[in-house]
């Protein structure tokens, strides 16, 4: 009885969280003309068709570029904050921690609206606006692993380097950074994934010439576009994300 309750909860949860994603991945390889189950046959024609839709192709490319650029900036900003927090206490340190983690709990949807009005008032263009929004949203995902990585590195090594005459920059580059490189890599992968799949805030800020793939897919679905094209584009997105995470694990876990 007890076993059955546990197993059925596991089964239902697995169904609810994994099956929708799995079915999108499966349908993308359909040889048919519309959603059917079981599949009439396997083919990659929907990937080809998705690629021939210029909006989807361009937004995919834009999403990748945006994710790469914004994640680099958020890791750099989060690294600055994490270095300060792990080496200093006091009000400033607490302030950095709070501000760097708040975007995690604050609804991205409302942040997107706030940034839209703010950028309109300031005359910021859509591309720069999206870059800034994605940096703000992904900073917490970089900040936490970086603070943890820095906590594990003994301060004494850095102090030893500095007492031997290394400046702050060279002691960071030669002593501290190699120790936290794995943490930096993990942080970067997190930020990439967050930016690449971000939708709530991006919805407000995207525009002509600055369209990300999730927003493009959303509007494509809203206007009853071909569902299997969306399935193929979604699959490409999922595979790229999972590939990044897998590579990140392989490369950065090794110490």
């Amino acid at each position: 009885m007890r076993r059955m309750v546990l197993y059925s909860a596991v089964g239902i949860s697995a169904f609810l969280t994994l099956v929708p994603i799995f079915l999108v991945l499966v349908q993308a390889f359909s040889a048919g003309e519309m959603l059917t189950f079981p599949l009439p046959g396997l083919s990659v024609k929907w990937f080809v068709r998705a690629y021939t839709v210029p909006e989807i192709r361009e937004s995919f490319l834009f999403s990748v570029i945006l994710a790469v650029v914004s994640s680099v900036f958020s890791v750099m900003l989060a690294l600055c904050g994490a270095l300060y927090v792990s080496r200093n206490g006091g009000v400033l340190s607490r302030l950095v921690t709070i501000l760097a983690l708040v975007p995690l709990v604050f609804p991205a949807f409302i942040l997107g609206l706030a940034l839209l009005f703010f950028f309109k008032a300031g005359g910021v263009n859509a591309k720069l606006g999206l870059l800034i929004a994605h940096i703000v949203i992904s900073i917490p995902y970089a900040f936490r692993p970086l603070v943890e990585a820095l906590k594990e590195t003994p301060l004494s090594l850095e102090e030893a380097a500095q007492s031997l005459g290394a400046g702050p920059l060279s002691s960071f580059v030669l002593v501290t950074f190699p120790q936290i490189a794995a943490g930096v890599g993990t942080a970067w992968v997190f930020c990439f994934v967050v930016s690449f799949s971000e939708l709530s805030a991006t919805l407000f800020l995207a525009g002509p010439g600055a369209m990300t793939l999730p927003v493009e897919l959303f509007s494509y679905l809203e206007f009853q576009g071909d569902q299997l094209v969306v399935a193929a584009a979604s699959t490409a997105q999922v595979l790229l994300t999972l590939g990044m995470v897998f590579l990140g694990n392989r490369v950065f876990r090794r110490r």
């Binding site: 546990l6 949860s13 059917t36 709990v105 609804p107 949807f109 703010f118 709530s200 999922v238 999972l242």
Partner: protein, 282 residues
């Protein structure tokens, strides 16, 4: 000893992210707050007249009350279903051996890396008029009239559970795994029933994780615009849908006011949950 001249670049380390987040997080949200008190029609021009009409207008309108009640109900349903499903899953996972537990947690959290649009679309694939559910039904019962399963409260709930369950499962699994088995064995040897063990040992020891899980679920479901729009359609709009519509039709002060109503609802829920958790401590 660190020489004093290193102090200056260190402060700069804190200033850089602080300034960035202040300028692009605090200031825009503050601006949104100010905007929510500006007269609606005058916006776009130069008239910045103070008014509370954006808020009071909503309170007096039955329409908004209905939408707000629907929004809160959907979020509460999602919270309840999350707890009902995630607790057994956590109890199951906590008993796994460490290798299998990490495999389990990896599988459970993979969906978090998949964009919300893909997860909502998964339900369109299943529930849509020409979706998988209908094609399976047609296969087994060809004479049946095919229905649209999308655009319903159930569809919204499925979609929201897909988004939120990984969080609650992750939080609760970690919390339940942290419980010392001796506590449970002691209770059992003293004659506690399974339900008694759950209520008196497991629940009190996991309630802070449960509280943070519930808050995440509530905030995520309150602001799940894409999921609700794709799965609820035009019939089942929630507050976020109106925020989006207002911003699209340039009624910015109303959109701003509604955003803070939404935030207020979320904070009220978080406050109640915190109160309940700390109350139990005594």
């Amino acid at each position: 000893m660190i020489p004093a001249y290193y102090k200056a670049p260190r402060t700069l380390l804190a200033i850089l992210p602080l300034c960035f987040l202040a300028l692009f997080f605090l200031v825009p949200v503050g601006y949104l707050f100010i905007l929510s008190f500006v007269e609606g029609n005058a916006f776009g021009g130069a008239h910045w007249t103070f008014t509370t009409a954006n808020y009071t207008g909503m309170l007096g309108d039955r329409f908004y009350i209905v939408i707000a009640v629907r929004t809160i109900s959907i979020s509460l349903i999602a919270c309840v279903l999350n707890v009902i499903l995630a607790f057994p899953v956590a109890l199951f996972a906590a008993r796994l051996q460490s290798v299998w537990k990490s495999v389990f947690l990896t599988i459970a959290t993979v969906p978090l890396m998949v964009s919300n649009i893909v997860r909502a679309f998964g339900w369109v694939v299943i529930l849509g008029r020409r979706g998988i559910l209908n094609s399976v039904l047609q296969f087994f019962a060809p004479q049946m009239v095919l229905r649209q399963h999308l655009f319903s409260i159930q569809a919204i709930c499925f979609g929201l559970l897909t988004i939120t369950l990984p969080f609650t499962i992750m939080f609760l699994t970690n919390a339940v795994s942290g419980i010392d088995r001796k506590n449970i064995e002691a209770a059992e040897s003293l004659g506690a029933t399974r339900w008694g063990v759950f209520y008196h040992i497991i629940l009190p020891l996991t309630k802070s994780a449960l509280a943070s899980g519930l808050m995440v679920v509530f905030f995520l479901t309150l602001s799940a615009y894409v999921t609700v729009t794709l799965l609820g359609g035009p019939r089942y709009k929630t507050l976020v849908g109106f925020i989006y519509d207002y911003s699209a039709t340039l009624r910015w002060p109303q959109a701003a006011a509604l955003s803070f109503v939404l935030l207020g609802i979320g904070l009220a829920f978080a406050g109640i949950v915190q109160l309940l958790v700390s109350e139990r401590k005594k």
